[in-house]
Every structure is written in C-alpha cells, then in structure tokens.
C-alpha cells in the first residue's frame, strides 16, 4: 500500500449542503438527534447566522456545482417559509446549482406544518421527507409522537398535492410488533407511497429515554435478533414486489427516485454542514477535511455572531480513515462502490478476507464493483468488521 494517497476526488461522490435546524416541539423518547425544545426562537438571529455561514463556506468552495440541499433536524418544518426562502436565495447566489438540484426539507406530519408546505415549495423546496413513523395511534403514542395516524395521512395528502417528490419515514421492529402487524402496516404504507420510503428498525440509542429504560430493563417487547432479521427480510421482499427496491440498507425508491442528497453521503462525496452539530466533509487542496460545529444551539449561534465562524477546528480525514468511511458508507448502497475508485484509495478488493466473504455469499463476485449481496446486507456490520480487520 502506498504511503501517500492523494485525496479522493470529491466529484466521485458529488457535492451537497446540509443545514441543521436544531429545534422540535417535543423530544421523542427514541431520538438521539441534536434536537432541543425551547420556548422562543428568534428567527431573525438564526437567519443572519445561517446566511453568514453560507457565505463563509461558499467562499471556500467557490464554483462547485451544488447538487443538493437538505434541511434536516430537529424539525425544520418549524421554520417559517420566509426563513427557508431567504436561506435558499443565499444558497443560489453562492453556488451554481445543478439542473436537477434536489432540495429536501424534513417535515413532521402535523396540521400546523402541512399549512406551510406550499410556502416551502414557493421558496424552492422540491422534495419533502415526512416523519410518519407509524400508522397506528397506539404505536405513535408509544413513540412519543405529537400526531395521530389520521393527521399524518392528511399531512401526507397535502404534501403529495404540493410536491412531486414525497418520501416518508417509518420506524419498525417496535415493541410488541409481530410480523403480521408490520406486514399489514407496510402494505398500507406501500399503497400510499409516492416515490420514496425510509424504513428504519428501531435503534435503542444511549442517552435517550428509551436507552435509559432499556438499560434498566424496562423496555419490553423488543424483537429478538431472529424476529428482527425476519422483519427486515420481509420488508425487503414486500418493497421489492411493490416496485420500491431497497437501494440502501433502510431506503427504498422507485427507479430513479433515490435521494440525491443521501447518496452524496453514502458515496463519500463532499458536503457542507451548517448549523449546530452539523458535520461536513470538504476536499480542499488535496486534503480531505472533516468539519464539525458546536452542538448546543445557543453556543453555535453566539459563536457565529461573535466570531463570524460557526465551526470547530477542522480535522484531517487520513487516508486510512477515508478508506474506512468509503466502505462504511458505500457498502450500505446496494450498488456498492466502484473498484477502481477503491483501488485508487489503497483498498485491495481482491484481499483474502474479501474472497472469503464472496465464498460465504455475503459479497458479490463482481468485476467492476465491490458490493454486498442481499444475504450480506442484514449482517453488514459483520461484513465491514471482516473487511476492515487488520
């Protein structure tokens, strides 16, 4: 393996912008995203900070063609359409946009937020991702959600009438959820899906209410490994049969409708990260940088206001770290990664470990691409540990 490997060309993965809105109406018990509940938000201050950060980062990446913008959270659908409009204006003024630029906003499916959808569209948002999470009220309550199933349906209908591209998220492998329960819920979801679906198995994260309850042994009815595996396989089958191929571990889309933005992550492209806790990857002068920002909303905000820079000191992503990230992110995609690109980054795709995995049926025997098979994807972490073992 050569000692020096020139930084990967960011073009192989694309270029996008992530903007983090750190507030929610309430904190969901399973959620470990950087989201906070506050009484008052001074939108004007936030607007100024976002705009200033956009300008600062644009100056470092001048001329790059922007393929995607993603408003994530938190609950970005709490932002006023005016704020979104102002941000998108600044973005358009700062980078040339691709013809098919994808501009996604994460929205919670309540009536209040649905009322803003048209405004977001007018500001330039062309895709929404709705956090539906469940299609029955009992489970929505257990997940601590603020909306009913009916409210979600209504919000979804409004979204569909306003946007061409609508995705929604469901969390499954919930407490006491049987295969049959999920089968009927997923059929219902597939019957209403537009072009994209994110289906996540419930993950118990440290530092959340669920995490604490699980640690204390008070979170009952979580699926066994085997039921989890069966739920996952059934999900892949049902989505595939309905024309929503699983193009990533938890993401399904009709042909051509996968999310451009998330692909940039999974293909280890470059992305600007703006807002509290937002992370980025930037290849500048043949060095790949990892960017991060202060997590606490007020810290970030006042730092931007005081210093004109809402970022922590940057870290270099070493060639070794980049190799890990390439595989960690890229093998989540069904299409996997281009072997030539991996080779250029110093990854031997013909190593014995990989041949063993091919032999076990977890990695595909493909001349062009390193990709994990349908059998390997449910145990992707194990596959990665094998591939990355020293």
């Amino acid at each position: 393996m050569p000692d020096f490997i020139p930084a990967d060309d960011w073009r192989s993965g694309g270029f996008g912008l992530y903007l983090h809105w750190p507030f929610c109406k309430a904190k969901c018990p399973y959620c470990d995203f950087n989201s906070h509940v506050v009484a008052n938000i001074d939108e004007a201050r936030w607007e100024a900070a976002y705009l200033s950060e956009i300008k600062r980062l644009a100056a470092q990446t001048e001329g790059r063609v922007l393929q995607s913008v993603f408003f994530g959270g938190g609950t970005p659908s709490m932002m006023s359409p005016d704020l979104v409009d102002s941000i998108l204006r600044q973005i358009r003024a700062s980078w040339p946009a691709a013809n098919d630029i994808e501009i996604t906003l994460e929205a919670n499916p309540t009536s209040v937020e649905a009322g803003r959808f048209a405004g977001y569209r007018d500001a330039g948002v062309n895709r929404v991702s709705l956090g539906v999470q469940a299609l029955n009220d009992g489970d929505l309550r257990r997940l601590g959600r603020m909306h009913s199933a009916q409210e979600a349906y209504t919000a979804f209908d409004i979204a569909r009438s306003v946007f061409d591209r609508v995705s929604f998220d469901l969390i499954y492998a919930r407490q006491d959820q049987s295969l049959a329960d999920w089968k009927s819920e997923l059929s219902q979801a597939l019957s209403m899906a537009v072009d994209h679906l994110s289906l996540y198995q419930l993950t118990i994260e440290d530092g959340t209410v669920f995490g604490a309850r699980a640690a204390a042994g008070h979170l009952s009815g979580l699926p066994s490994d085997d039921l989890g595996a069966d739920l996952y396989l059934m999900t892949q089958d049902m989505c595939g049969a309905a024309g929503f191929d699983g193009y990533e571990v938890s993401n399904h889309a009709r042909p051509g409708a996968s999310s451009i933005h998330n692909r940039i992550y999974w293909q280890s492209g470059d992305y600007v990260g703006i807002g509290p806790g937002a992370q980025g990857r930037l290849t500048l002068d043949d060095t790949r940088w990892s960017t991060s920002t202060p997590l606490a909303p007020t810290t970030w905000l006042s730092q931007v206001e005081r210093t004109g820079m809402g970022e922590d000191p940057r870290d270099i992503v070493s060639a070794g770290d980049h190799r890990t990230e390439l595989l960690l992110m890229g093998l989540r995609l069904r299409e996997g990664l281009d072997k030539a690109r991996l080779a250029a980054n110093g990854i031997d795709t013909d190593a014995k470990r990989i041949r063993d995995l091919i032999h076990l049926g977890f990695v595909a025997d493909d001349a062009e691409r390193l990709r994990v098979t349908d059998a390997g994807r449910p145990v992707l972490n194990g596959v990665l540990r094998e591939i990355l073992a020293d």
Partner: protein, 599 residues
C-alpha cells in the same frame, strides 16, 4: 537483649472476618507502640489486595513493649500469619516461631473451618492457646454458646475465654495480661551456637531482601557472617532490628527474640521459609526440623490479552517472583492464545492474588486458562512424568496409568444445608471420611480429588449454603483413577487452552456443560459454528451455534460518518481482545467461564 522470662511470642488464630486485624491494631495502639495519629486501620496488613480481601499473605510482626499490672516490662512479639490454606506451610513455620496463640472467634458466628485448620497448626506447634471471644458489643453475640462450641469442636478449655470487643476496646487489657501470664516464656540458650529460624522474607526495593527470623539459640549480631543451612550460602548481616511496627535498628537479637535483618540478598528465592540460619564459623550442625521447599500445586496459563504485552507480562512476573519464592513460571505457547506463561501456585487464592496484582499493578489484561493440578503420569516403559498442563498429555498408547492429587477437606455447615453439601462432595467424586455435629452445625470431612476443587468448588459451596459453610483442606497424596484428557473443538479446531483432564465417568457431563456454556459465551458469527467436546477422536458432546442473522446499523447519514467510523475502529480493537481462532472469535472471559459448572 531482653531476658527470656520477659518475652512472650504469640500469634493470633482467626477466621477471616473474625476481627484478627482489628484486635492486633488495638493491642498495638493501647500499648502506645504506635501513636494514635499514626494508626491506620489494620496496621499489619500492608498490601492493597490483601487489605481488600482481609487476608495477609506475608507474615508480619510487631514488637510491643508492655508494662504489666505487676509493674514489670514485657516484650510481646506478635506474628501475624497468613490465614489461608494455600499458605499452610508458611503458617506452620510462623507457628513454630512462637509459643502461644490467641484463638479469636467471633462470638456472633462461632468456629469456622479455617479457624480449625490454623488451630491444628497451633496445636501441632505445642502452643498454649487462649480463647478470645470477639465482637461482644454486637447484639447477636452469644459467648456461652460459642465457648461451648470451642470446647466441643477443638477440645480446649474455654471457661477462661476472654470476652473482647476489639472495636470498643473492652477486654484489651485482659488480653494483654493473659498473654503475659497464660502464655509460656520462650526457651533458648544464649551460649549455644546460633540457630535462627527463617520465618518469612520479602523484597524491598530499597533494602533488598528483608528476612524475618526467630532466634532459637545463641545471639545474632550486626556484622555477623551467617550461613543458610538449606543452600549453604553465607551472608554478612548489614542491618538488624525489630518491627515496632516500623523498623527499629538493634545491635543484636538474643534467644526468644523476633526481628529482621538484611544482608545484601538479591532474591527471595535464596531465602526459604523454615530454613535454619547459623553462624558461618562454629555454627550449629543440626538444622531445625520441618523445613521443606515450596511446592506449587495448582498450575494455569497466564496470557496477555494483547499479544504485544508479552514482554510487559514477563517483566511483571519476574518482579512478582522476586518477592514470592513459592510462585513458579515458565514460558508457554498456545495455538489459541499465543505466548504466555505456565505458572504454578500454592493454591487458588495464591493464583488469584498474583493474577490480580499483575492486572492491577502492571495494568496488563490477562487471559487465565483453566487451573490444573499436577498429575503423575506413569508410562508403560516404567518412567514417570509430572503433567502440569493437559495440553502436554502424552499419547495414551504409551501411558500405563495416571495418578491425581487428593485432599482431605473439612467443611463446617449449618444443618439445613448439609444435604446440599454432601451432594456437592459426592458429585465431585468425594469419599466421606467423617460426619460429626457441634451444636447445630455439622462437620463433614471428605476425601476429594484436588482437581475437582481447584476450579469452582468453593464458589459452589458458598452458593449452595448461602455463604454459611466454611471450608479448608490439606493435601493428602496421590491416587490412581480413570482419568482422560478432554479436548474442546470450536469450528472443528481444537482449542488447546480449553483442554482439561477429567474423570472418564464424568466426561460426558462436563463435556456437555462446557459446549453449552461456550455456545452462550461465543457471540454469533456470520456462519454457523460447531462446538464439540472429544476424548481422543471421539466426540462426546456437541452443540451448534447458529449464524448471526442481523447486525446492521439502521440509520447512517453524513452526520454519523465520524461517529460510526470511530465505533468501527473501536470494535476492531475489541476484536483484538477476542482471540482469533480459525475464524472464530472466542472472548477472553470464555476461557474461564466455560469451566464453571452449575452443579
């Protein structure tokens, strides 16, 4: 030098929690030997691990100057002995160095097996024994019952037992008076050639080896040249003194006195407990009786979890061995575990203490393999070999028969648990030798194979008796039995570190228990893994660990890349901890946990 008639040498015999150290502290403190402000709890126990476990490994002494009620000054030498059975020989030597014992019994608990074993050492050494009933301040104290029990079980007169609360100080004065008036003065001839018994020794990084001695006859002086009779080495005494309990220099020590010297000795190995020390010239010709070199009885492999720490482990073991002549070691290689050491110990506690010290003081994570006893293998060609490691078992076709060490175990247990204890002993191939009662407690004596005891017998005993049983043992000898080597195969590969010697009749049961345990302990892999127990080529138990079916992170976005990468790096490091075997990772704790039996 103090006149013999004004010296009293004694030890304290007690079970672990019965308050030996607190009583010793009280004696030291009440005589002003240590100023109150310098007093720390349990003055005599100095090593951390020992203090935590309430056990003393090295003998320690303190010289107490006591003005008795008759107005005369006495020198009282207290030797605190290791209380544990692993150190039985050391205890017996310490006992020989004194003339009497205080038998301390917790008046809320009564006599325990460990007390008994040590009382027997004291009786063997012809001690005068003064019973002391401790903890009389506690409401649960039952002095009369416990006194009666002492008479029943031990057969000594307890009517004059002193009632003490080491905690509050009640009875301390009476105890000191009893030491003066009820214990005999030592005997000895100051004009005879020097004869001193080596009671213990330890390594001090400033002073080198410090030797604790009891002068039997003659006088030991600073600058004397002395001979160690067991190995015929000669040393020049360059420092001489007594412990109060700090070191106090003296010019000479006479008969009956207990003190220390240093003589530029580099290794504890050269100073053997029980050895006789005499003058280089015109010395004694006859050594003191009873000397025997230390013999390890339990062996196990110690391997660094991180193979790059092998040199650190070697260094740690070398250092510990400096201070512990009874601990033996040699390099060992294992297919599963790489480089490590096969170490010999006096017993299980000794093993645990050494292992804990390596992990704690030297910060090395260890994998400890199954403890094994020493088997005598008799070959068909008439030769005999000692087997310390089941992995080295010779080909059976050349073996005539195998002998294993046996012990005499004494267990004291409340009536209601007797049935469980008998069953446990029976299950462990025990032969009952005796069963008697002392009040509501039964005393059972069993002949047991040491092999069945070294691993988890004590844990099992504690659990079936809810901690109410006490246990002690001594080695009795070797006996032939139908023993075989059982191998464990994981994914069709034998794991040498898990092989063990078992009795043929118990092999299926142990094999089944082991494969079931391993099935729980080894995490699922991406392929199914057969786990088998076999004798020779014959599989006697088998389980299959099914393949892992789901291990994937549901959600992973740009904001997670760093975190997920670090997690993966950490798992990679964790994977190092799991020994790579074939392609199966066996977690380090499996090497010990797999051996624990539930019955």
């Amino acid at each position: 030098m103090t006149d013999l008639s004004h010296i009293r040498n004694f030890s304290i015999v007690a079970h672990i929690d019965h308050g030996k150290s607190t009583l010793a502290d009280r004696l030291i403190q009440s005589t002003g030997t240590v100023a109150d402000r310098d007093m720390k709890a349990q003055m005599l126990d100095s090593m951390d691990i020992e203090r935590e476990r309430g056990i003393t490994i090295k003998a320690q002494t303190v010289r107490i100057d006591y003005k008795a009620d008759n107005g005369e000054m006495y020198v009282l030498n207290l030797i605190d002995t290791p209380g544990h059975v692993d150190f039985a020989y050391e205890v017996s030597r310490s006992m020989r160095a004194v003339e009497g014992s205080l038998l301390v019994v917790d008046s809320t608990q009564g006599v325990e097996a460990q007390t008994l074993a040590n009382v027997y050492h004291a009786l063997d050494a012809d001690h005068e024994i003064v019973p002391v009933l401790n903890k009389i301040d506690l409401p649960a104290s039952e002095c009369d019952r416990v006194a009666a029990q002492i008479e029943d079980v031990i057969g000594i007169d307890a009517s004059q037992a002193i009632r003490v609360s080491a905690k509050t100080g009640v009875g301390i004065k009476e105890t000191l008076e009893a030491v003066v008036h009820r214990l005999p003065a030592p005997k000895g001839d100051r004009d005879a050639p020097l004869k001193a018994m080596l009671v213990d020794s330890w390594y001090d990084s400033y002073l080198g080896v410090v030797v604790l001695v009891r002068i039997i006859d003659g006088v030991l002086k600073l600058k004397d040249r002395v001979r160690f009779m067991s190995n015929d080495t000669v040393h020049l005494i360059d420092r001489l003194g007594v412990f109060k309990p700090g070191m106090l220099p003296m010019d000479q020590l006479g008969p009956g006195e207990i003190g220390f010297f240093t003589a530029q000795i580099k290794e504890v190995r050269d100073t053997r407990v029980g050895d006789t020390i005499t003058s280089e010239r015109k010395g004694a010709t006859q050594a003191l009786p009873g000397f025997k070199p230390a013999q390890p009885v339990v062996f196990c492999g110690l391997f660094p979890v991180d193979s790059s720490e092998f040199e650190d482990l070697r260094n740690a073991i070398d250092k510990l061995a400096l201070n512990d002549a009874s601990f033996s070691f040699e390099m060992e290689t294992s297919a599963a575990l790489g480089f490590g050491f096969r170490c010999g110990f006096l017993g299980l506690l000794h093993l645990e203490v050494i292992r804990d010290r390596i992990e704690r003081e030297y910060n090395i994570d260890l994998i400890t393999t199954a403890p094994s006893v020493v088997y005598h293998i008799f070959m068909k060609d008439g030769t005999q070999q000692d087997l310390h490691n089941p992995a080295d078992m010779p080909d059976l076709t050349f073996v005539d028969h195998i002998e294993e060490p046996r012990i005499k175990a004494t267990i004291l247990v409340p009536d209601e648990y007797l049935g469980d204890v008998l069953k446990l002993c029976q299950d462990r191939r025990g032969v009952q030798l005796d069963l008697t009662y002392a009040g509501s407690r039964a005393m059972v004596v069993y002949d047991l194979p040491l092999n069945e005891v070294v691993f988890d017998f004590y844990d099992r005993l504690k659990s079936v008796t809810k901690g109410y049983a006490s246990f002690d043992y001594n080695l009795t000898g070797y006996q032939e039995d139908n023993l075989v080597k059982m191998s464990l195969l994981v994914n069709d590969e034998p794991v040498d570190a898990l092989s063990m010697m078992v009795h043929r009749d118990r092999a299926e049961m142990r094999g089944r228990a082991m494969v079931e345990k391993l099935k729980e302990l080894i995490p699922r892999h991406m392929f199914k893994i057969p786990i088998q127990a076999a004798i020779g080529g014959k599989v006697i138990a088998r389980e299959t660990l099914s393949a892992l079916r789901k291990d994937v992170t549901a959600k992973c976005y740009g904001g997670d890349a760093t975190r997920k990468r670090k997690l993966l790096d950490k798992q990679k490091a964790g994977k190092k901890k799991m020994r790579q075997f074939g392609s199966v990772n066996i977690p380090q704790e499996a090497f010990i946990s797999a051996l624990k039996m539930d019955s």
